[in-house]
């Protein structure tokens, strides 16, 4: 059996037809283009997004209970949000050496882990200070403002990433888009971590963590249109 397949594989490939008239016309006016530079693009995406996120925090004010919260938790959570932003964006934008396609399966895993992880962490760990606020399960819909601010923060990295990946992803596009969305959602989470003084479990878990889930789903649904060749 493998002999037959080896024989079939060794058969001279067919002769393709000449280039179509449309392609010939395109080649007639061929101009140089700038190829992708993934690390530079990642740097630009991270830089612009972080400046934008800092601007949003400055505009909407830093949370009032910031100095009352345990510093190790504040730093650890901030670092986790930052990593949640950087890692999926890296996996979505930077392909392995010698390849053009990003590691979409790792990006997908990263999007799933951060989406679930931040919801669970928010539900489990949510220290509060004297000036922290509590709205509880019954008023959870009041968290829509945080959800909107989080998704607004996520939009910039997602749009920048979609522009950099325009027509670059014939396969795995939806997963890469989800990773971009999850990364953007984590930037939203970081903005909310520094801005929102509500510290009850449902709000921190479902709304702040939910920003990652919503951004990942929205990005997966919308960005794919631009990233497929």
């Amino acid at each position: 059996m493998s002999d037959i397949l080896d024989h079939l594989g060794a058969i001279k490939p067919p002769t393709p037809a000449p280039l179509s008239a449309a392609l010939e016309a395109e080649l007639g006016k061929l101009a140089p283009v700038k190829p992708r530079r993934p690390l530079r693009e990642l740097g630009a995406l991270l830089g612009i997004s972080l400046v934008y996120g800092a601007g949003l925090v400055a505009m909407f004010t830093v949370r009032g209970d910031l100095r009352e919260l345990p510093m190790p938790w504040l730093l650890a959570a901030g670092l986790a949000w930052l990593l949640g932003f950087v890692v999926p964006c890296y996996l979505a934008l930077v392909p392995p050496r010698g390849s053009m396609q990003p590691r979409w399966h790792l990006a997908a895993a990263c999007a799933a882990v951060s989406s679930i992880g931040f919801v669970v962490l928010g539900l489990l760990v949510h220290p509060s200070g004297a000036h922290s606020k509590y709205i509880g399960w019954e008023h959870i819909p009041r968290g829509h403002g945080c959800l909107e601010l989080g998704v607004l923060s996520a939009m910039v990295p997602v749009v920048i990433g979609a522009l950099f990946l325009r027509r670059a992803l014939p396969v795995g596009a939806r997963w890469v888009a989800a990773a971009l969305g999850a990364g953007g959602g984590c930037l939203g989470g970081l903005v909310l971590h520094l801005h929102c003084p509500v510290t009850d479990a449902p709000h921190v878990g479902l709304v702040h963590g939910g920003v990652v889930v919503v951004s990942a789903l929205l990005s997966a649904a919308l960005v794919t249109r631009t990233t497929e060749p």
Binding site: P16, A17, E26, M100, P229
Partner: protein, 189 residues
């Protein structure tokens, strides 16, 4: 033989001749792959042109130093999948008496009438027919890993699946092919 990386780099720098060389280098194998997937020379030719048109439009997605061939194959895979979906959605009305011209594919990928000599045409024909009976995913796995000589990782990257899933598909395809050939041999006897 020219290096596809070098050709792609010259092409994005505006060298049209490099694109033609890249086409000459990649298109024959890619056409063979598309013919085995599409089961029709005419459709495979069309898919090949569509693929290279997409490559042209997306050339700014190239990353210097990267091998463009798996990416081009992945575009061909995507184009083929989109075509299947389009055909499944489309409603074709053919009036009675209308004839639909068809150019069937030969064993070596040539249209009938221009077929090349092969070592064992009957056996090859049987394998090709059995290959056509495989589900699309398994057929693609067998074509890429057994006939096109791609590694499992390369085939997975082209088909947009994981290495594990590609291994399973290739194994199942290979086993199904063996069973189909066995059944045909018994039927012929």
């Amino acid at each position: 033989m020219a290096d596809p990386r070098e050709l792609m780099e010259r092409y994005v720098d505006g060298d049209a001749r490099a694109f033609r060389e890249l086409y000459a280098l990649v298109a024959p194998r890619l056409l063979g792959y598309l013919m085995k997937m599409a089961k029709s020379r005419a459709l495979a030719d069309d898919l090949l042109q569509q693929t290279f048109f997409k490559v042209h439009r997306a050339r700014s997605a190239y990353v210097r130093g990267a091998d463009p061939v798996p990416w081009i194959y992945a575009i061909a895979h995507r184009t083929f999948i989109d075509e299947i979906r389009k055909k499944q959605r489309a409603v074709v009305n053919v009036a009675e008496g209308d004839e639909v011209p068809e150019v069937s594919a030969g064993l070596t990928g040539e249209a009938d009438g221009v077929r090349e000599e092969v070592a064992d045409p009957e056996l090859t024909a049987a394998v090709m027919r059995a290959l056509e009976d495989l589900p699309t995913g398994q057929r693609e796995a067998v074509v890429l890993t057994k006939l096109d000589g791609k590694s499992v990782a390369e085939a997975a990257a082209i088909a947009g699946t994981t290495v594990g899933a590609m291994k399973v598909r290739a194994h199942r395809g290979y086993e199904a092919l063996r069973k189909l050939l066995g059944a045909r041999k018994r039927g012929a006897a």
